[in-house]
Symmetry: C2
Subunit: 220 residues, 2 copies
DNA sequence: ACATTTTCTTACTTTGGAGTAAGATTACCG
DNA sequence: CGGTAATCTTACTCCAAAGTAAGAAAATGT
C-alpha cells in the first residue's frame, strides 16, 4: 500500500513527472518485478502490473529489458548475486569445516530472512519456469552442491565420494525446505535456524566423514 | 513416440473410432495430463496438446473435467493418493521408530522411481501454481511433516517440540531434493537412496531425541 | 538558441490458448 | 426396431496479456 510513484514530484517544476536516469530506473523495475513475481508467479504477474508497481509505463520495460523473460532472468541474476555475496562475505576459508558449514547456513538463512518472500519464491519459480532462468539457477544450485560436497570431502581429507554428494544434496534440500518454513514463520531467527540445522546435520556428516577416513586408511 | 490412439480400431466395425466408457477415458486423460504437465509445466502444456496425447479431442476434457485447473487438481489428487497408498502400504505401525522411518523413505523413493519424471515435476508444479492444487498439496505436505514430527516425538516418548518440527521440515526437504536428484540419475536404486539418507539423518535425530528425553527427565 | 539524445506515454496490433456451440455418430434399452 | 442417452468432433468465439508504433516532453550539450 501507499506506493510511492515519485518522491520529488512536487519539487520538480511543472506537471511533468520526475525523470530518472536509466541505471536507477532499471533497479526500480527489478524491485517491482521481484515483488510481483514473488506474489503471483511468473505467469501470474503481468508486465503492465509490474510497470504500475514501478510507477512507470509498460514500454519502458521493453525498452530497457527487451522481453518479459529477459526481465525475469535479470531478476534472477541480481538476486543470485546478492545471495552469493552474502554467503561469501561470512564464510572464512581458514576456519574448520564445521564452522564453515555453520557460517554458510547462517548467511543463507539471513539472506532469506532479509529478503522476505521475494527470494525463495523467485528461486522456486525459476527452477520450474524452463528456459534461461531455470538453467542459470540450476547451474548455481549445482555449483553450491559441489562446493558443499568438496567441503565435506576436504574435512575428511579425501576426494568427494558418492555419499558426500548425496549428503550435499540432502543438506541443500533441507535448507530450501527450512527457508520456506521461515517464510511462514516470520518471527524465526535465522541464526537459531542455522544453528539447529547444524546440530541436526552434523552428527550424520561427522559419522560419514569418519567412515570415509577409515575406508581410506584401509585402502592405503 | 508410437502413441497408440486406439488399439482395436481395426477390430471395430467400420471407420468410426473406438468408443470408450467415461471412467476409462478419464484415466487416460489423467495419464496424458500428467505426461504433458510434467514435461512442459502447467502453463506450458496446452489442453489441445493433452487431448492429442490422450488420442481425443479437446471438448471431451471440458465435458469431463470442466476446466484446465480442475483437470490439474484431479491429477494432483490421483497422484497424491497413489503416493499415500504406497507409503501406507509399507509402513508398519508396530515397528520401532527407526524402522518406520526407513520404510517411509523407501516407499517414497520407490514411488518417485516408478513414476519417473511425472510425479516430482507435478508436485513441484503444484506447489507453485497457486489456487486449489497448491492448497491441497501444501496441506498434504503439512500433514506429512506433522506425522514425522509426531513419529520422532513418540520415539523420544514426549510431545513434539520445536526441534522435532524443525527436524521434520529438514527431513522432508532432504527427501524432495534427493527425489529431484534421482530424476537426473535414473540408474539410482530407491532402496539405496533411502538407506543412505537414513544413515545420514539418524545420528542427528537420535541425538535430538536423546536430548529431549534428558530434558524431560530433568523437568519431571 | 538549436540540435541531439534520453526518458517516457498513449494507444494500438497480435496471438496463443482457454473455453463453447451445435451437431454427428454410436451404444443402450424398452 | 425407434427413442434416449452417452461418446465424440469440427469449427468456431473471445480475451488477456505480450509486444510495438509513433511521437511528446524533458535533459544535455554546443
Amino acid at each position: 500500500m501507499t506506493r510511492v510513484t515519485s518522491q520529488k514530484s512536487a519539487a520538480s517544476h511543472g506537471p511533468g513527472k520526475a525523470r530518472v536516469p536509466r541505471a536507477v530506473r532499471e533497479q526500480q523495475m527489478l524491485d517491482a518485478s521481484v515483488e510481483a513475481f514473488a506474489a503471483n508467479g511468473y505467469h501470474g504477474a503481468g508486465v503492465e502490473e509490474i510497470a504500475a508497481i514501478a510507477g512507470i509505463s509498460k514500454p519502458m520495460i521493453y525498452l530497457y529489458f527487451g522481453s518479459k523473460e529477459e526481465l525475469f532472468v535479470a531478476c534472477i541474476r541480481r538476486e543470485a548475486g546478492r545471495l552469493m555475496d552474502m554467503i561469501a562475505g561470512v564464510v572464512r576459508a581458514e576456519d574448520p569445516a564445521e564452522r564453515q558449514l555453520w557460517s554458510a547456513l547462517e548467511g543463507f538463512f539471513t539472506f532469506v530472512s532479509d529478503h522476505r518472500g521475494a527470494w525463495t519464491v523467485l528461486y522456486r519459480q525459476a527452477r520450474i519456469q524452463g528456459g534461461q532462468s531455470t538453467r542459470e539457477v540450476d547451474a548455481m544450485r549445482g555449483r553450491t552442491i559441489d562446493l558443499i560436497g568438496e567441503l565435506l570431502a576436504r574435512a575428511a581429507s579425501s576426494e568427494p565420494g558418492p555419499e558426500a554428494v548425496m549428503a550435499a544434496h540432502a543438506l541443500v534440500g533441507a535448507c530450501e525446505s527450512l527457508a520456506d518454513w521461515m517464510l511462514d514463520n516470520p518471527d524465526t531467527d535465522p541464526k537459531t535456524t542455522a544453528k539447529q540445522l547444524s546440530h541436526f546435520a552434523w552428527p550424520g556428516l561427522s559419522k560419514l566423514m569418519e567412515a570415509t577416513r577409515a575406508r581410506q586408511r584401509g585402502e592405503a
